[in-house]
Symmetry: C2
Subunit: 212 residues, 2 copies
DNA sequence: CCAATTCTGTAGCAATCGATAAATAAAGCG
DNA sequence: CGCTTTATTTATCGATTGCTACAGAATTGG
């Protein structure tokens, strides 16, 4: 019986096997990109955090930008899982939004992680030669808005949100607030402060959907 | 009669006079920092935009960080003038906030300028060695919150805002939204979309102050 | 065993980073 | 005029950037 790989049950592989845990190295890279942003993270920052040398990084991840892309994917899958779950599982659209926003209020200032959201912070400005990275981030943020809008449309279908509600406008409003919360988190805001902001935004819900 | 200097009516000066317009060079530097952020703006970006060589830049502005500090001051004085005026001159705190936010909705996507607010965007993440620059930005953002809170307190004193209103919490809420609007501006939001977000936030005002 | 393949460490690539030394030019002052 | 002071241009500085050539090590397949 063949020895089972710790990392993955992949194909047998031909040449010299990789001597490091690719997934763990990617997690380390994600953390550094999240903390410092794309451009301010140097290759030596990355190799240091990942515990490997540059040639190993390039062999496994191709280049800095591709590594960032993978790190962003990992971020969405791991850090995005819980908010997405909360968004989907709420009884109504309003309850879903409240649960998701309250979660972020705590998560953005979790001392175990870099503050704020990587998708908002890691590449918001930068040099012209890294435009493609910023484009990737913009695309990711836009898909997040769309996900929120879809939840509101679901609420309209289900009947817990009035027919006249503007799903995209509402999703944009709450997204904008969430994005601001990432800035606040970097400025040292507390969970309590972020929660107060969330509750203020949720108080606007009924007015936005048209209820009077 | 002495020839009047174009730039300033300063002291006579001793050695060789500066051959460039310091104020114009600073404006150019501000624009580049605003567009690309602190770290992504290289010295050659700066000298190119300012139309001078590196030694002239260092003679006039000391170092990159000091130049950024001056650029940030200039930004606040120029770009901050109109929103501050609107904040001060509104009949009530609510009207002041609405006017300021509506102005920003247009200003953040003014095609004549870099999108969004320099104070929010130019140094939100980065390398550890530039922590002091981020600290300066955080300090600037905090003073902006305080300015909004002061306007609300003025409204409480004047009577247009109920006594029980939490000025800091309200100021934080609207600041958070404004900061998110800078992200939205970088993502290509339109004035119309930003205005819709502003109106949604303003609809929350009466609920926040305690009115029912 | 050998050959083919893939990964790893060392060492270094050209380019750029922020910043400056040195020589010269242009002003005021005496 | 010379002396002092300051700004200018040119030509770098050492350090770091993202990235890679190269040689050797470790694996599979034959």
């Amino acid at each position: 019986m063949a020895v089972r790989r710790v990392t993955k049950a992949q194909k047998p592989a031909k040449g010299r096997p990789r001597s490091f845990d690719r997934a763990a190295a990617l997690r380390a890279a994600m953390e550094v990109f999240w903390q410092r942003g794309y451009e301010a993270t140097s290759l030596s920052d990355l190799t240091g955090a990942m515990g490997i040398n540059a040639p190993s990084l390039y062999a496994a991840f191709d280049c800095k930008e591709a590594l960032f892309g993978e790190a962003l994917d990992l971020y969405q899958v791991t850090e995005g899982a819980e908010p997405q779950r909360l968004l989907a599982q709420g009884r109504t659209a309003k309850e879903s939004f409240a649960a998701m926003l309250r979660f972020h209020a705590g998560d953005y200032v979790n001392p175990q992680k870099p503050p704020g959201c990587m998708v908002v912070l890691a590449a918001i400005v930068g040099a012209p030669e890294n435009k493609s990275v910023r484009g990737l981030m913009t695309k990711t943020r836009r898909s997040a808005v769309e996900m929120l809008a879809a939840r509101i449309r679901r609420g309209i279908t289900a009947g817990d949100v009035p027919k006249g509600a503007d799903a995209v406008a509402m999703a944009t409003f709450y997204t904008t607030l969430m994005q601001g919360m990432s800035i606040q988190a970097r400025d040292g805001a507390t969970k309590k402060q972020l929660l107060a902001t969330v509750e203020a935004a949720m108080a606007a819900w009924d007015g936005m959907v048209g209820k009077r």
